[in-house]
Amino acid sequence: MNVETKVAREAIPAHVDPAFVRDYNVFQGYRFDEIGDLHEGLFRMGEELGRGIFWTPHNGGHWFINDHELLFQAVRKPDLFSSSKMTIPPMPPEQEPVFIPLTLDPPEHGPFRMPLMKAFAPDAIMKMEAGIRSLARGLIEAVVPNGRCEFIDAIGEPLPVTVFMNMMGMPLERMTEFREWMFDMASDDNARRANAYVRVTEAMGELIRERENGRKDDLISRLMDTDIDGRPPSFEENQSYGMLLFTAGLDTLVNGFSFGVFELTRQPALQERIKADRSLIPALIEELLRRYGIPMPPRIVMHDAEFGGVHLKQGDRVVMMLPAGNLDPQSFEDPLRFDIDREEVPHLAFNSGPHRCVGSHLARLELRVFFEEWFRAMPTVRLDPEDKPVYRPGLNLAIVKLPIIWDVPS
C-alpha cells in the first residue's frame, strides 16, 4: 500500500525521506471512526502503515515511534531525544511548560528527581493505602444501589484527583476547577492548554505561599524543605514540581481505572474469576497496563542524527507511542488479546530509562486497592446498551464517558 501519497510533497521537510511519511493525526487516532477503539487502532496502524519511526505532517509536523524495540532504545537516549520541550503541536517557547524533573535532562535531572523518588518509593506510599481504600470504598458503595453509573464522573475521576489533592495538601473545595484544568491540558487547542498551565501554576503558587508561613504534613511542604545540590528548590521550581505531579498523575490514572472497568464489561467470566480469587488482581493490573497504555510523551531532537533508518534534524519533535509498543506482536504474542495469564513481560506503560514514571508505585497501589474494593462490593458490570462509551484520542489515550449498568443486589 502506498500510504505516503496522500501527503502533499511541499508539506514534507527536505530532510524527511518521503518513504517514511504517514498520514496520521495523533489527536484523531488511527481510522478511529471505523474501528471505534483507540488501542485497536494503534495495533491496526502498525499492521497497515508499518512499525518503526515515521513522520507525519499533522500538528506542526513530527516523528512518531510505534515499534517496541525502537521505543526501548529511544527512551534511553535523552541526549538525543530530550524531554525539555514536550508540546505537540509545538507551543511558542515562552509558553512551553516546565515540569520538574520531567523536562530536565541528565545530569541536571538526577538531583531534582531524588526527592520524588523518596516520596513515591514503594515503602513510602504504603502509608497511603488505608486512606485510598476508604475513599474507594465510599465511592463504590455509594453507587452500588443505583444499578448504573457514569463511571468516570462517579469514581474514575474523583478517586485519583482526591488522592492527589490530599497528598499535595490542596483544598478539596477546588476539585471542580482541578478536573476542568486536567481536561484542558489534554486538548490540541494551544490556547486552552496554555490557560490550564497558567491556572495550575498559579494554584501551586498559592499553596507554596501558604506553606511559606507554616509547613504541614504534605508533599509540597516536604519538597520545599528538600535539598538540591546544597540548596532548597526556588519558588518557581516548586511550582514546576506541582505542575509535573498534576499533569503526570491525574489524567493518566483516571484512564487506568476507566480502561480497566471497560475491559471488565467485555469479560463477564473474568469478573467472576477474579471475584473468586482476588490474588489475581496484580496480574489483572499488569495486563491492563500493557493492553491499555495511556501516555504518548513527546520529545525534541537535540542534534542531527541517524536513528531507526531516518535522518533526524535538531528541533524535530518525536512522539513516543508507548501504548503502540505494548501492542507490538514482535514483543507480545497476539497483543490485542487481554490475558491475565501472560507470563510477565516488561511493558512500557510507565516508560523506561531515566524518565521512568516516578509515580508508578502509587499508580499500582491505587489500581490494586480500587480493584480489591470493586470486586468486593460491585456485582458483574456491563456496558449500558443505551449509552455508549466516548473515547478521546490524543497524547493521553482516554475514555471520557463510560456508562455502565449492573443488577442491584437484593
Partner: protein, 64 residues
C-alpha cells in the same frame, strides 16, 4: 546460579522486588540496593522470573 545486576542503570521500577522481595533488596528510594547474589536453592524459578520482569533489562542470570 547467580544473579548479576547492573546497579547504576536501575531506575527504580521495583518489579524484581514485587516478584521476589526477599531476594531483590531495595534502598529507601526504591532502587536496587545490591549488585547481585547467589540464588538460594529452590528459588531459581522465582529469581529467573524477577530478572525477566526488569523493564530496564539490567538483571542477568548466570547459570552454574
Amino acid at each position: 546460579m547467580k544473579i548479576v545486576i547492573d546497579k547504576p542503570n536501575c531506575v527504580g521500577h521495583a518489579r524484581c522486588a514485587a516478584i521476589a522481595p526477599e531476594l531483590f533488596l531495595l534502598d529507601p528510594e526504591g532502587y536496587i540496593a545490591i549488585t547481585g547474589f547467589d540464588v538460594p536453592e529452590g528459588q531459581e524459578a522465582l529469581a529467573r522470573r524477577a530478572a525477566k520482569a526488569c523493564p530496564e533489562r539490567v538483571i542477568s542470570v548466570v547459570e552454574d
